[in-house]
């Protein structure tokens, strides 16, 4: 028995040896893409199940096969726990022969998954997380940060708000990797544009009552309340700010807001707010066509992350096609060569530190009167060119970009 299995293994090896040169080098004869995100918690609307569906759709739109091999998508919920995310990633790389991992929302989980991917020498394409650490002090040759980061958010929103008269800032910060990164990045930008930061309060992730923090913010007498949080935390912050009359004396600046947040709060509570995003469904004819398909499926408009989930999947599969292989190093090499030109962005490229450099948009939330159709929520006030929006070489601490 023992002998027999040895013989058959040897035969298999021999056969594999013969087969390989004739075809593309696809490990396990299947291209396996993994997606680990918050599927059920406070970030599930901006990415979550709809994001997973967009990855599947991206694969289906390419015919379901690349380089003659089937593409498979695995999805898991990390429940906003870094250890769950890292363990799942490790299991997939080790046991399922995962070829590439897409990182969903939550920076804490993304930083943990990036380490696992680097160890396994497989591409980690981060779409949902915001922390700029992914391409800065914790950059890796296998990480691509695709949609946005805290630096780009701060650099686009910050100066615009300071210019419109908001000189003194107070931060409401989610107490974990992403929130603190966003606060640090925004502080630098505000100071550089001539503003001051008078204080900050750090709240735990998924806080439901913000009233106490609102009182502290009010006491600071700052002009701007910078919301360095996301998802449900941002929503409840804005609700409390309205309830406690903060919006009469201070202006709110959402440093990371998605269209789903604006939708669930309504325009009455959010009108006039500045925010930055990498994509808006109503920005171009191409994006509108793409978003319409999404709307038919989910009865809501896609967030920028869901658009980026679609875009990143095709970007990766094109790299596999160009490399003729799903090998980690070879696909990374192709991704650094290829440009992103699709419904998500034009002329995007992956820089040495792993940032995918593309334009960012400064939006202002419309008033209820000026919004004419459903989900017509933003005016695009300014476009920040990719090179200006993201970290500069001088600011970067990434050892790969020196």
């Amino acid at each position: 028995m023992f002998k027999l299995s040895h013989i058959s293994a040897a035969c298999a090896l021999a056969l594999a040896g013969i087969a390989v040169p004739a075809q593309a080098q696809i490990s396990g004869d299947v291209i396996r893409i993994g997606f680990i995100t918050d599927m059920s918690g406070l970030y599930a609307d901006i990415d979550g199940p709809a994001g997973a569906e967009m990855i599947r759709q991206a694969v289906a739109d390419m015919g379901g096969t690349v380089a003659g091999k089937k593409v498979e998508v695995l999805v898991a919920d990390h429940q906003n726990k870094a250890d769950v995310a890292a363990a799942k990633a490790r299991e997939w790389f080790d046991q399922q022969g995962l070829d590439m991992l897409i990182g969903g929302t939550n920076s804490g989980t993304a930083l943990a998954m990036a380490k696992v991917a680097a160890e396994k020498k497989k591409p980690f394409l981060a779409v949902g997380p915001g922390s700029s650490a992914l391409t800065n002090d914790q950059c890796s040759p296998y990480t691509v940060h695709y949609a946005y980061d805290t630096v780009a958010m701060a650099k686009t929103t910050g100066p615009a708000v300071v210019k419109s008269g908001g000189k003194s800032w107070y931060f409401m910060t989610a107490d974990y990797a992403f929130g603190t990164a966003l606060q640090t990045d925004a502080t630098n930008v505000v100071k550089a544009s001539g503003g001051t930061v008078v204080g900050a309060v750090r709240h735990p992730l998924a806080t439901s009552d913000f009233s106490s923090f609102m009182l502290q913010a009010q006491a600071s007498k700052a002009q701007i309340l910078g919301l360095a949080n996301a998802g449900g935390d941002t929503i409840n912050s804005i609700k409390a700010a309205n309830e406690f009359g903060l919006t009469k004396t201070m202006k709110l600046a959402g440093l990371l807001m998605f269209i789903n947040d604006v939708h669930s709060l309504g325009l009455k509570a959010t009108q006039g707010m500045y925010l930055t995003d990498s994509w808006y469904w109503n920005q171009s004819p191409e994006s509108r066509t793409w978003a319409k398909r999404f709307f038919e499926k989910f009865k809501r408009m896609p967030s920028s992350l869901q658009a980026a989930d679609y875009s990143v999947t095709q970007f990766y599969l094109n790299a596999v096609k160009a490399a003729g292989s799903d090998d980690g190093d070879k696909t990374m090499e192709q991704m650094r060569k290829l440009k992103v030109n699709d419904m998500y962005t034009k002329g995007g490229y992956v820089r040495a530190d792993g940032s995918m450099i593309h334009d960012m948009y400064l939006m202002q939330v419309k008033t209820p009167e000026s919004s004419t159709t459903p989900w017509d929520y933003y005016n695009v006030v300014a476009t920040a060119k990719g090179e200006e929006a993201f970290l500069t070489k001088a600011e970067s601490k990434c050892s790969l970009w020196k």
Binding site: H203, Q216, N236
Partner: protein, 294 residues
Amino acid sequence: MEIFGIPLQAFLGQLLLGLVNGSFYAMLSLGLAVIFGLLGIVNFAHGALYMIGAYVAYVALDRFGINYWFALVIAPVLVGALGVVIERTLLQRLYKIDPIYGLLLTFGLALIAEGIFRYWFDVSGQSYPVPEALQGATNLGFMVLPNYRAWVVVASLTVCLGTWFLIERTRLGAYLRAGTENPALVQAFGINVPVMVMLTYGAGCGLAALAGVLAAPVIQVTPLMGSNLIIVVFAVVVIGGMGSILGSILTGVALGLVEGLTKVFYPEASNIVVFVIMAIVLVVRPAGLFGKEK
């Protein structure tokens, strides 16, 4: 004048907000305490029932134009009825076996309810407006208190004390307490114990729904609102002493205050301070502050 380095006025404001949150905790933990005290069931579905209460209010307003004041009645009645159905069809089969089964069952029900509402309403949730009569804010000198928050404190403390009075000071309450102590004997006196237990569970669920309606205008109505809160509320019940009604009310208010102050002095710890207190209390007094050792 300053207290621990912050102005007295700000300090008073924070205490008041702590009281608002504390009265929510009190009302939720009260329902849990009643159910545990009288049925011996650890009702893990409480957070989900609170969430359903808020959604009943939201749907009533959004789809049927039924206002807040009617929702305050409708939601507890509907959710109470749901509680009765759960008790009749599921819970009553578990009274004679280990309490862990009741805990597992209600936890499972909570997950199912959350999943269904997540499917229907998405996690970002919906905004419920503050009723017109309670809009605006009152300047108390040391802080500007939204009128709605003041109403929450008054309403929930009234409900809490009313429930306490009903159970501890009336004949009906005496039957209830006797029925849990020795159901066979009380039944022999001609009182229908199973119906009484059923109605108690329904009432406990109704209390959760009422808290949900009260919370709806203040926090975003989302399918996750219950699970964010339920763990804290359980800690409140454990600290107060499982089954102690007065204990749960007082502990709820007190922990709201402690949490409020933590948000000023060390905000990062505001979501764990309750559990630190719980650990200390369990070490010093395993039965809780107001509980009786058995």
